[in-house]
């Protein structure tokens, strides 16, 4: 894999002329270890995320295999719980978040006309922490007592008093992942504030850049709180403190408050960049400027602000005064206003556009529809009295998989199809990609839609066995799961095939795409925008201004 | 009394935060940062003296085992 990209980029470099300090990439493996180039680091991030996605996906296959039929089939319950826990942690911290940071690394400098990220050496460090943290997290599987089995939310006292020894490794893996995210976010902020082309105003920026800018603030505010939570867990486990132990005056519910104070902004960390991606793709294929650009920016900012004051809706049943329940319910439902603004803007952008449905557009449209389903089930869960029924059932599982799989993951796949030709200079196989899209989008609905029914009928989440009345829907869901899992084999093939054998493309891959990234060659040269773009160029490449 | 201390504290945080803002915004040449930091030290010392004074007047007493 890496050799191909290296060759490609070497080729580019011999063509381009550079002044003294601008040599091309180094040769060999050390290029990737030492690199300070935002494109290299973006590539590393995306491949790492893809690897983690496959590992986490394999765990999901285990889970669906066990749930294929009632009764205990393959694993003991302890191992099943380890699988659900690690699946969640790996997908959130190993796949979705690094994938977005990878996209940010590749695209933000290209989209704002910057020559690189603002702090390139630190950029390298934020990536290279990840493989170590990921390895530490996965190594818990092979430890005595097994991996953490308390769910990805690691509530106390399951994660303190009753957890296996490997939990301490999990804690430090989280510390490292958080450290990496914070450094990545600082870099994004410094890049956008300081490296933007001098003639590009904030409100000229493409929406992907805007949404990432806001996401970066969320990361800086939320990740340290998670670090604090796991630190308290560490001392409760090993040094006799009693933060989460009522016998010492603490409170296990306090863990939930601290965790969700991080956890809810985290939800938006995983979806705001997705909003940005979709807002880039839809105008390109609808051949119209994005409808309501500034309202999109304000909506993103208000979602981000609100995300810090709604964490209690995750804990309606954990013991909360009625006033708290009411407040958290109304605040939560308020978020649907800015989210609705976004969905309507995407639809209005498509309205009367000359639409065409290349693969990125298919994924983006699927995102809008399926994410909205996830949003609606979120509204249902946000209603405190109704949540008494839904809490801890498969309805919750269905809800967050609709927003994270058909939301966040779909947007990442859309982004990869949209920008892959720019990255490697070659076009993917459109026919195969469409086959893959329909395969994935049908199977993912077979996988997750029946889980709504299971949840409403009362099937609890995080269990390896269930009563007979849930058997049919579980079997359907598992079949969908295997089909969806298999679709990633095809996806891998399409991407590898594109990088190796794809037809070369020119700079403007999509004929109606606007944005500075399309004004450079495909594949993007190793160094771009050594001289920042002019105001004229920026205006030409920005669809929402100058009309 | 707690509120007065709180107000002092808000001013301290404000001057500290504005120093951070000036550090990010201005280059090294500007004196706004060092002025904000001077203000922050000044208010902090005032607050400490105020706590001292209120203790002496018996308005507040330290946390302790009753």
């Amino acid at each position: 894999m890496s050799t191909t990209t290296t060759d490609l980029q070497d080729e580019i470099d011999t063509h381009a002329s550079h002044d003294d300090h601008h040599h091309g990439p180094e040769k060999g493996l050390m290029r990737w270890v030492k690199t300070t180039n935002h494109k290299d680091i973006g590539t590393l991030y995306i491949w790492f995320a893809f690897t983690m996605l496959l590992i986490g996906g394999a765990m999901a296959m285990y889970i669906r295999a066990e749930l294929f039929q009632p009764g205990m089939q393959f694993f003991d319950p302890q191992f099943f719980n380890q699988m659900t826990t690690l699946h969640g942690l790996i997908m959130v911290f190993g796949a979705i978040m690094p994938a977005f940071v990878g996209l940010a690394n590749w695209q933000i400098p290209l989209m704002i006309g910057a020559k690189d990220m603002a702090l390139p050496r630190m950029n390298n460090w934020s990536f290279w922490i990840l493989p170590f943290a990921g390895a530490m997290l996965l190594s818990t599987l092979f430890m005595e007592g097994g991996a953490p089995a308390f769910g990805w939310t690691f509530y106390a006292p399951l994660s303190t008093t009753f957890a296996p020894d490997s939990t301490d490794f999990f804690i430090f893996a989280i510390h490292m992942l958080g450290f990496s995210s914070i450094m990545g976010a600082i870099n994004v902020i410094a890049t956008i504030m300081n490296m933007r082309a001098p003639d590009m105003k904030l409100m000229d920026m493409p929406l992907f850049v805007w949404t990432w800018f806001i996401t970066a603030f969320l990361l800086i505010a939320a990740m340290p709180v998670l670090a604090g939570a796991v630190t308290m867990m560490l001392t409760d486990r090993n040094f006799g403190t009693s933060f989460f132990d009522a016998a010492g005056g603490g409170d296990p519910v306090m863990f939930q408050h601290i965790f969700w104070f991080f956890g809810h902004p985290e939800v938006y960390i995983m979806i705001l960049p997705a909003f940005g991606i979709v807002s880039q793709i839809i105008p390109t294929f609808a051949r119209k400027p994005l409808f309501g650009y500034s309202s999109m920016v304000y909506a993103t900012a208000s979602i981000a602000l609100l995300s810090f004051v709604v964490w209690g809706h995750h804990m309606f049943l954990a013991g909360m005064p009625i006033g708290g329940q009411l407040y958290f319910m109304y605040a939560t439902i308020l978020i649907s206003v800015p989210t609705g603004v976004k969905v309507f803007n995407w639809i209005t952008t498509m309205w009367r556009g000359s639409m065409s449905f290349e693969t990125p557009m298919l994924w983006a449209v699927a995102f809008v529809i399926l994410f909205t389903i996830g949003g609606f089930s979120g509204l249902m869960l946000g209603i405190a009295p109704a949540d008494i029924q839904y809490q801890d059932t498969y309805f919750v599982v269905a809800h967050f998989h609709y927003v994270l799989v058909t939301g966040a993951l779909f947007s990442i796949i859309a982004a990869v199809f949209y920008w892959l030709p720019k990255w490697c200079g070659r076009m993917y196989n459109e026919k195969l990609a469409k086959v893959h899209f329909w395969w994935a989008v049908i199977s993912v609905n077979v996988l997750f839609f029946p889980q709504h029914f299971l949840g409403l009928a009362g099937m609890p989440r995080r269990i390896p066995d269930y009563s007979l009345q849930f058997a049919d829907f579980n079997m359907i869901s598992s079949i969908g799961g295997f089909a969806f899992g298999a679709s990633f084999i095809l996806l891998t093939y399409i991407i590898v095939d594109c990088i190796r054998n794809g037809k070369p493309v020119n700079g403007r891959v999509w004929e109606s795409a606007k944005g500075l990234e399309w004004s450079v060659d495909s594949p993007a040269p190793y160094h771009t925008f050594d001289t920042p773009p002019t105001r004229k160029q920026i205006l030409e490449e920005t669809s929402h201004i100058g009309h | 009394m707690n509120y007065i201390i709180l107000i002092f504290f808000i001013f301290i945080i404000y001057s500290l935060a504005s120093a951070l803002y000036y550090m990010m915004k201005d280059g090294g040449g500007s004196k706004r940062m060092v002025k904000a930091l001077t203000l922050r030290v000044g208010i902090s010392i005032l607050l400490f003296l105020f706590i001292l004074f209120s203790f002496w007047m018996g308005w507040i007493k330290p946390a302790g085992v009753a």
Partner: protein, 290 residues
């Protein structure tokens, strides 16, 4: 010296990967040593060494690049933004622990004693338990150490507050001296700040020993001990870091680094010190007073 005009993008570097290896060795080793693994302890020490080596190497390279005019004003600005938002992340980290303190004081301790609609909680779990702060007698004392008392605000804490406040003043004096191109004032102010910082740390260590040996106030002393030691402990860690950074700045000042209008390293460390100072003031008020 003329600084280069374009934005400096460094060549590939080994420091980050070294940092990652060090971090993994340190934290992985720490986790293992918590479960009595000797290899873990060795790995932890090794990892710590690697990180120290990496920090000196990396920061040394940055200082060198800075002094040889590699950074233009735009790079300087990136560092400023980076430092600013890093500090913000630190604020949020402390916020988690302050949040835990307030939650325990205002909510969980009163609830355990039956406040609000928690009458039956109190009645069923620990009917004898009374809600007071500082919480000396935790609901169930079997697994915890009941302290004989707590650290009095008018002893070491007040002296320490005065020490840190004075150090803020001496640092500000150094800052003004730098702006007024008074090199000896800068160096003198820095030396005074460092000495005060070391005094603070010494007194803090003394206070901890006092708490452990005479008062039986330990990490295991229920939620009061937990919040007390975690808050003051993390603060102490930051003072330690700040002191080390001030020493680096002092060395640079002696070597003639920093100009009237180019001294970001000084500003960053100074702000960090003021931040740590204010956190202490907050601790002094909410932990020892209110």
């Amino acid at each position: 010296m003329q600084s280069r005009s374009d934005y400096f993008v460094p060549d590939g570097s080994y420091w980050p990967i070294l940092g990652s290896i060090g971090m993994a060795a340190l934290l992985g080793g720490f986790a293992a040593s918590l479960h009595d693994s000797l290899v873990g302890t060795i790995s932890m020490i090794l990892g710590f060494g690697i990180i120290i080596f990496m920090l000196f190497g990396w920061i040394g390279q940055v200082i060198n690049e800075s002094e040889t005019g590699t950074y233009n004003l735009q790079v300087d600005k990136s560092f400023r933004i980076g430092m600013g938002w890093f500090i913000f992340s630190e604020v949020m980290f402390f916020a988690a622990f302050f949040g835990a303190l307030f939650y325990a004081r205002q909510l969980s301790v009163p609830w355990l004693a039956g406040e609000g609609n928690n009458f039956w909680t109190g009645e069923n779990l620990w009917p004898e338990f009374k809600s007071v702060w500082p919480l000396i007698k935790m609901p169930d004392t079997t697994n915890f150490t009941v302290p004989k008392g707590i650290i009095e605000a008018w002893e070491i804490p007040a002296i320490n507050t005065l020490t840190l406040l004075t150090s803020g003043a001496t640092l500000t004096y150094a800052h003004w001296s730098l702006m007024d191109e008074n090199r000896s004032g800068l160096i003198g102010g820095l030396i005074a700040t460092i000495i005060l910082g070391v005094i603070f740390l010494g007194l803090q260590a003394f206070e901890y020993i006092e708490a452990y040996q005479h008062l039986d106030l330990k990490l295991t002393s229920g939620i009061y001990g937990s919040t007390f030691f975690m808050l003051t402990g993390f603060h102490g860690l930051h003072v330690t870091l700040g002191t080390i950074m001030l020493i680096v700045i002092l060395m640079r000042a002696i070597r003639g680094h920093f100009k009237k209008d180019r001294h970001f390293g000084f500003e960053a460390v100074a702000w960090y010190w003021h931040f740590v100072d204010v956190v202490w003031l907050g601790l002094f008020i909410v932990v020892y007073w209110l």
